[in-house]
Subunit: 481 residues, 2 copies
């Protein structure tokens, strides 16, 4: 118990410092440096036990050499921030240390999951919140579920006979969509080449006519178009595909419509921004990750399904040792047979607790505030010297994509030399940021566009001054490149 | 901060009481009772926020109506117990709130995972601990990985072209094995009917001759036998399939050998018991869940792979926005593209910290002790009046399977009536146990055997007196049935 209290002391100190802007975001070291052991921090495992004092030192060192993802100047991922209620929820979850597969051993958590999923389905717009769903270990697995249940809906015999029982099935998703759709296609036996990438407009949104043309072309080849993924909030551009137009096409060709709202689904909480997902209520399934835009600690991802019973039908194996039909309670509350997992981590409690503490209105305020901050950033740099926006127009989500052009490149005409040099700018600035430990922001190329920064905001602790700091820092580090 | 300290107070009180045998294992309520709201515990989510005082009450109530999986008399699942170091590790993990996909945002955790997986591969017996692996969200997903990479090894074109590019592929697994192999077969597009179940001996171990006969039969039909799963520690009987004999057959027919050691893999830590997995070093892949027999908090499951590079080859999609090749550090440390997940929860730290605190020898002692306790139970009841063992001989793992025969059934001759009545005994006793809240133990039917109790021990807090208590409690609750 004394040990637990000392750990708690370490953790509360860490949390306090995380919100202190004078603390570094990270204390960067290369893998070989950490492996060699810095100041006695030894990662190797031994036969003999260490003392509890040494364990406490190990805990401190682990935090010291890690990355403060809750720091107000950490902008590197879609999941940022450290919500105190969520953190308390996750501590309680660890202490309860149970498993979601049966009501028997997780009665409260199972009911919380049911109620929360129903609430989310209501917000999606399904009648009375009807349908089904699960929390899964991340958006990629949620998306994988959507492909599995689409296949089960149209070709249930695949469950028993395998893919050879079905014709050649085609999945469609945007070239800007998350790679998990292609990964699911490969894993589930469709094959990557049967995942057709759709063209997008300059903002990264699927062009519906391209979808229809590709469906027709697949049908002409004798293939069966099965599934369309519409992304609500793409990873890089934050683009929202036009769901209603896509839903029209899915209805016309009798296809499954999935909306990947891992990143953008949370805008449904905002009366101001939810129109960006208009048509989502027409989807057959929706991925929505509260661990991204809603600031819930990792992991917390929901797969929502409009048709009740299909998750169970798709995945059930009826294992007698776990799902006994002769229990004393109503066993329809046992959720395990719907999942591809057996044991399933309790991801619901922290989210439920945050919802209790903030109310629906609290999440709405959080979403609105993050979007205001991104608008602030966009307005600040769109005409600023040395910046070039990757696309025109206000951001749809909090993603702001831009190049920083160092003074040495500003007078070089567009062409191969400039492109090559510009491609190296973001990685260099990022590396310096990490070595200074002052801030972190992502970059990547996209299509024929060379490396650019992708700024995203989901941290409730971030303010305009942190946005200002980021810009100053990019300029400080980049001016002599 | 004050709030966090109050939560901490609630949690430490809970932990203290969990180890107190006068505390109930659970305070059972039916779903409708909890949904109606007991003593003001309201599960519904609202638009408006609740006060922090109410949030603290919610935390207390959540624990109150849950199940104490760390209680010394909780024997219901393979994962039991509450290790204090592991718990501290999980609290730290939640506080760090990061993601395993890149070294960039989880430098320390990524290295801990690498070193720990290497250590586990050394213990499996692969030369210099070479190979690959990942921590995944549970044994079912680890087993799914094994099927995916087996397919990729023999038919890499399936990744691109889908299952139609391969002949009809057959997976083999014991009729006593975990249902996740069949689930993986269904999900990945093989089809459940191409997952052939192998016959077992009276102890639940695969009969190698049956495997060979079924392989030959599949080949005669023109199918391609691809994969054999050998279980090390089955879920119900705790049986260990004869790995060496199975490995001989896999070599002869050029098939992938997977060992599902989700439950039994931990016996590798014990010099006394590891012989039960003899031949495991010949496997191509191994599932091993430290969150079961080693007492690590949920979730912690490893998939180990003998051939380096194949996980990456099977799953990589090379997303530019996450796995930039032009980072300043050695990007081979970015593990995300090996996984079917994108974001991946940090499951390593609690395990690493426990290993530091206990040493390899500490895990060995824990395993040996649990097996001694199960031997104690077996010896206590094997000749006791009113008990009938499901199988003869000492348990291979901590699973002890038995019927309790109430006095009213003892003089009824074996036959349909006795079977029917006996089938109802375990569920009734279990329901009463749960209503009294005194202890919990699992039951299930198996094949033609009616419901029997399956006792398992993985909790470091359990002692002989708790075993004695379980037996007394079964007799107290069952004597008048």
């Amino acid at each position: 118990m004394q040990f637990l209290l000392e750990v708690m002391e370490i953790l509360t100190n860490y949390v306090r410092k995380t919100f202190d802007r004078s603390t570094k975001v990270l204390d960067f070291h290369h893998p070989h440096q950490l492996l060699e052991g810095i100041e006695g921090f030894n990662l190797e495992l031994c036969d003999q036990p260490e003392s509890l004092e040494q364990i406490l030192v190990d805990c401190r060192d682990t935090l010291k050499y890690g990355v403060r993802t809750g720091h107000p100047r950490f902008f590197n991922q879609l999941s940022t921030g450290l919500d105190i209620i969520g953190l308390a929820g996750e501590w309680l979850t660890s202490t309860a240390n149970t498993n979601m597969f049966t009501y028997e051993i997780a009665p409260v958590f199972v009911l919380m999951e049911q109620l929360t999923l129903k609430k989310m389905r209501e917000i999606v717009g399904w009648r009375n919140g009807e349908g089904d769903g699960l929390f899964s270990p991340g958006g990629a697995i949620s998306n994988m579920y959507s492909v599995m249940i689409a296949r089960y809906k149209y070709f249930p015999e695949v469950k028993t006979k395998g893919m050879s029982a079905a014709p050649r099935l085609i999945l469609f998703t945007s070239e800007h969509s998350h790679y998990s759709i292609a990964k699911a296609g490969a894993a589930l036996g469709f094959g990557k080449e049967n995942v057709i990438l759709l063209s997008t407009d300059e903002r990264g949104r699927v062009i519906p006519a391209d979808l229809e043309a590709k469906i027709i072309s697949a049908k002409q080849k004798g293939y069966v178009p099965l599934f369309v993924n519409a992304t609500a909030g793409t990873t890089v551009y934050g683009a929202f595909d036009p769901i209603n137009d896509i839903a029209d096409i899915c209805e016309k060709y009798n296809m499954w419509l999935h909306v990947d709202g891992a990143w953008g689904g949370s805008l449904l909480m905002s009366r101001k921004h939810r129109h960006k997902l208009n048509g989502v209520e027409r989807a057959n399934s929706v991925t929505w990750n509260p661990h991204k835009m809603m600031g819930v600690p990792l992991q917390c991802s929901a797969i929502l399904v409009r048709e009740k019973g299909i998750l169970q039908g798709c995945n059930s194996m009826c294992a007698g040792y776990l799902f006994q039909p002769d229990k004393q309670y109503d066993v329809t509350y046992d959720t395990g047979d719907k999942a591809i997992q057996c044991g399933r981590h309790v991801d619901i409690f922290k989210f439920w607790l945050m919802w209790k503490a903030k109310g629906t209105v609290g999440f709405e305020q959080h979403v609105d505030r993050c979007l205001e901050l991104s608008e602030y950033l966009y307005n600040k740099i769109k005409n600023r010297e040395g910046y070039q926006m990757v696309m025109q127009g206000e951001p749809q989500h909090t993603n702001v994509c831009f190049w920083y052009i160092p003074p040495s490149l500003r007078n070089i005409p567009d062409g191969e030399e400039r492109r090559e040099r510009l491609h190296k700018v973001a990685p260099k600035i990022k590396a310096m940021m990490m070595e200074c430990g002052t801030t972190m922001v992502g970059y990547q190329p996209q299509g024929d566009k060379v490396n650019f920064f992708r700024m995203v905001i989901s941290n409730h602790a971030a303010t305009k001054s942190d946005i200002d700091f980021l810009i100053e820092e990019i300029e400080r580090l980049g001016q002599d490149l």
